[in-house]
């Protein structure tokens, strides 16, 4: 395929990816069964006495009362709600992340039926980030042992030192 045509198709596909994100954003609230940060912020009353799932960063914990306070953010990463989750024995530090599933109350509390600790503390999100960077470098490094960049054609070509059987796909 000619370089110009390939670039044109790639640009069209990038617009397609952008369009998919717009459609996903436009339809998410009606299809996702739980409220987003924005929905909690603007229509809190609508979800009172409903069983909902919240994902948030832990602000404080009280193991004696079996409660923890979590912050729910919106699309701009601004705090949309602060909810006190009751009936949870989850072991987590402030700065950790939890999923809480339970019944939302009018006084910005939730009675949890299930709490999942995603990150016990801030160090676990740093662990995930660091290990993920290693994963990206490993995948790219392995890829570059098999493929090389052809700047003239703006393509990746098979390296000439790879001598295994090929496929006419």
């Amino acid at each position: 395929m000619r370089t110009g045509l390939r670039v044109a198709v790639c640009i069209l596909l990038l617009f397609g990816a952008f369009g998919l994100c717009i459609h996903y954003g436009a339809t998410y609230d009606t299809n996702w069964p739980h409220p987003t940060g924005e929905q909690l912020d603007t229509d809190y009353e609508e979800y009172v006495d409903e069983r909902i799932l919240l994902i948030g960063e832990v602000q404080s914990t009280d193991p004696v009362d079996e409660t923890l306070t979590i912050e729910i953010t919106d699309d701009a990463d601004e705090v949309a709600a602060e909810i006190e989750v009751h009936d949870t024995t989850a072991t987590v530090e402030p700065g950790g992340t939890v999923q809480a599933y339970g019944t939302l109350q009018a006084d910005e509390t939730m009675t949890a039926s299930e709490t999942v600790v995603v990150n016990h503390g801030p160090t676990e999100s740093q662990y995930k980030l660091a290990v993920s960077v290693v994963g990206i470098l490993f995948a790219i490094g392995y890829f570059l042992t098999q493929w090389q960049l052809n700047l003239q054609q703006l393509t990746f070509d098979q390296r000439s030192n790879t001598t295994e059987a090929d496929h006419n796909g």
Binding site: A17, Y24, L53, A76, K128, N150, D166
Partner: protein, 163 residues
């Protein structure tokens, strides 16, 4: 989601084993599948530019989470397949397969409400029940996946040596 190293090692393991049985399946396609396993997490661009910033700029709803779905990886795979010099169809299939291995692995993790994310979008918003095998920060995932990948790498070396 699990961290990306586990996803890449899972793809390495699956496609290396496939290589033992399919003659044309060379290391370059293993590498392509591993790149495919990275695709869903391109949604992490959201760590640098929030959806709200894009929504304000464009004046339309926007959610980068679409990338972490079957539709998202299909479009990204199509772009990726055009970046290689030839064998575009095979490249596309391997990129999608790598992406699906990532989404399926994520479909096994714990959700407090018992259902996985709606990763079949745009074909469906269905959230299948999840077996709840792990949380993303569980280092044991990497230990198990890494051990299996290491065994596969050693066996692969032996097979190649024998050939």
């Amino acid at each position: 989601m699990a961290e990306l190293l586990s996803h890449v090692l899972i793809a390495y393991t699956i496609f290396t084993v496939a290589r033992w049985y399919v003659e044309w399946f060379t290391k370059r396609w293993v590498a392509m599948g591993m790149i495919g396993a990275l695709l869903p997490d391109l949604s992490r661009i959201g760590l640098f530019v929030t959806d709200a910033t894009i929504e304000t700029t464009l004046g339309v709803p926007f959610n980068i989470g679409a990338v972490h779905t079957l539709g998202g990886i299909s479009i990204l795979a199509a772009i990726g397949s055009l970046v290689v010099a030839d064998h575009h169809r095979t490249a596309f299939i391997l990129l999608v397969a790598g992406g699906i291995s990532h989404l399926l692995t994520d479909g096994l993790k714990i959700w407090a409400d018992g259902a996985a994310s709606a990763w079949l979008y745009p074909f469906s918003w269905y959230r299948h029940p999840t077996p709840g095998l792990y949380v993303s920060s569980d280092y044991r995932v990497l230990v198990v996946v890494g051990s299996i990948a290491l065994i596969v790498a050693l066996v692969d070396r032996r097979i190649i040596h024998q050939q």
